[in-house]
Symmetry: C2
Subunit: 80 residues, 2 copies
């Protein structure tokens, strides 16, 4: 089983990496890109959990290890 986890800075949190990329694109002539947000994406291989267990454990792993819930939000999807 595989899981995909997305971790993004919260809307209310500045995203300097995203801003830097937006400025770079703007100076390269891509004025159509009005905003960039950068986050993290994880692909996890899971073995030996039922789908329900995986759902519960991924909630914990996302909250406690992959994301910092003070400044980041996360979502995950179990695939395969």
């Amino acid at each position: 089983m595989k899981a995909h986890v997305w971790v993004m800075p919260k809307r209310t949190v500045l995203d300097p990496q995203g801003q830097t990329i937006q400025h770079a694109l703007s100076s390269l002539g891509y004025a159509q890109i009005s905003d960039v947000r950068q986050g993290k994406f994880f692909v996890l291989n899971l073995d030996g959990w039922s789908r329900d267990e995986a759902q519960q454990q991924l909630e914990r792993i996302s909250k406690e290890v992959l994301a910092n819930p003070v400044i980041e939000e996360y979502r995950f999807e179990i695939v395969e």
Copy 2:
């Protein structure tokens, strides 16, 4: 219009961040997580492009700015 871009280390490239997370999870008791790959996820706001133009421009932006095609692979999706 919005676009989502995923940038991941190529299969053949070591992913030290992913490995570090996998080891951390393993030492926290999550032995069921056998592999972790970490990549980047971008959300771009686009204005003033048709869907076809956006498709072409995103291909260039992904290849030339967001990813390093020597060691990373990318994919993107236009949403909304």
